[in-house]
Amino acid sequence: MSGGILIRRAGPATTIQDAGRFGMLEHGISESGPMDAAGFGRCGAMLGRAGAAIEFSQAGLDFVVEGIECRAALAGGAFTLSRNGVAHPWPSTLELRAGDSVSITPGPSGNYGYLRFDHELDLPPVLGSRSTNLVAGLGGLSGRVLKAADRIAFRGEGEPVAVAAPTRPGEGSLRFVWGIHADLFPAAVRERFLAGAFVVSSRLDRMGVRIEDRDGVFATTPILSLVSDAIVAGDIQILGDGTPIVLMRDHQPTGGYPRIGTIISADLDRFAQMRPGSALAFAPVTLQKARELFVASVRP
């Protein structure tokens, strides 16, 4: 017996995620991967070697270790953690033995947390990745969310992980670069977009996050008929009824709604962790600035 874990309780939208399924857009499959890539990376760096992660949502996760000693790291967001009833700080690295019971319950901030082990998960890569893509029903455990009574076995050591840079989560406005349809919005709407009061709505998942447009910035935007075009994570798309939605890691690969901008790579993890009700403001940056921030955010 190779050992592994037994899930006792899983919140909604608990999935397996690795670095993502790159290069499949033309086949109709978006990249997936962790909603908070920095949190996922930090989790791996805490172990040195790590396998794919279990990404859990606000409600957390309970599991029991079966038939193996292992190390686990938990990071991303701020959750409440205990092992065998004893509290541990967040984030933490734990030395676990068979029979240990770990409980992750809601904490003060964040939408997503990561659990990784010093072992790889015994799940078959699909098209080069173990990431669950819920839209396509691919990867992870049979392409679906994890639930109570699921068992995940270990298989060999995890992959070496580079030590992550000290995290600077950033704060303030979400920075974006103007989008491929920005010129279709009247100048007055673009200006009001920068001044508007926006709030993260409760309708969010791995595909996208709907935004409340409290000032009605886009309420009068006429419905535009556009040729369907490629989507990338972070795109700020305005639906026909004027609702802004930020497309996330499991985004649909193409879409025909106008996109006013794209949240920069360096700010997307922070956005993913913003809970419903969080106030938002958007600030444009140049492509050069976005690049500098991205390069700084991924430098080991």
Binding site: F22, G23, M24, L25, E26, H27, G28, I29, V126, L127, A136, G137, L138, V177, G179, I180, L226, V227, S228, D229, A230, V232, A233, G234, D235, Q252, P253, T254, T262, I264, S265, L287, Q288, A290, R291, F294, V295, V298
Partner: protein, 217 residues
């Protein structure tokens, strides 16, 4: 100035040949995608052809948008107008039209003032081109039908239709490979599946390929 070279986020460069879908703009996108496949510019990690554009996803640590845009302009200047798409693969797709598999066939034919028999014959009369892929796993758009076969989408969206559904609207025929909701007319179904997650690559049809629809009786 067409085509436009635009940033799509901070790791994407979009080459957009038009703002409207036409035979010319689609051909240009396909021709450019093929050119890219032959020689991927430095720093480009993935290309994604669309109806009238091609997305190049690049690594900003390796290449800047400006230098990639320069390389793209150079490629475009020698890419020709896309008028001729060189030797494309041809695929025969057998379709059961109408009945339970194609609940909208009769209405679509009637809306065009044709009998079902004439509609099917017209639909299958000439090979279509794969305009693009990528809306959903294995999903392909094929076109273009002549003006006499041009029909708007339905006014309502159907809940997800079965994989293999053959969809008709806007002068095009699309084939699904997974369950997707659609506002198009569902005119038939095929046993062909353009998606196999165990295969590499996972899809068989590529932009620019020729598709010949055949009616199963």
């Amino acid at each position: 100035m067409w085509p436009e070279i635009l940033p799509l986020g901070d790791q994407g460069l979009l080459v957009r040949f038009s703002r409207t879908l036409s035979d010319d703009s689609n051909r240009a996108a396909i021709a450019f995608a093929r050119r890219l496949r032959d020689a991927l510019p430095h720093g480009v990690r993935e290309i994604d052809p669309n109806l009238v554009s091609v997305l190049l996803r690049y690594d900003p640590r390796t290449v800047t948008f400006e230098s990639l845009a320069g390389e793209v302009r150079l490629l475009l200047s020698v890419a020709g107008d896309g008028g001729e798409i060189a030797a494309a693969a041809a695929h025969r797709i057998a379709v059961r039209f109408g009945g339970e598999e194609g609940p909208d066939l009769a209405a679509a034919a009637a809306a065009l003032g044709m009998s079902v028999e004439v509609f099917v014959a017209q639909h299958n009369a000439v090979p279509l081109r794969v305009l693009t892929t990528g809306f959903a796993p294995g999903f392909v758009y094929c076109g273009f039908h002549p003006e006499t076969m041009r029909l708007a989408r339905r006014t309502s969206v159907r809940p997800p239709v079965l994989p293999g559904s053959v969809l008709f609207a806007a002068g095009q025929t699309a084939i699904t490979s997974t369950a997707v909701p659609t506002g198009w007319h569902v005119i038939g179904r095929t046993a062909f599946r353009n998606f196999d997650p165990g295969a590499s690559p996972p899809t068989a049809l590529r932009e620019g390929d020729r598709v010949i629809f055949e009616a199963l009786s």
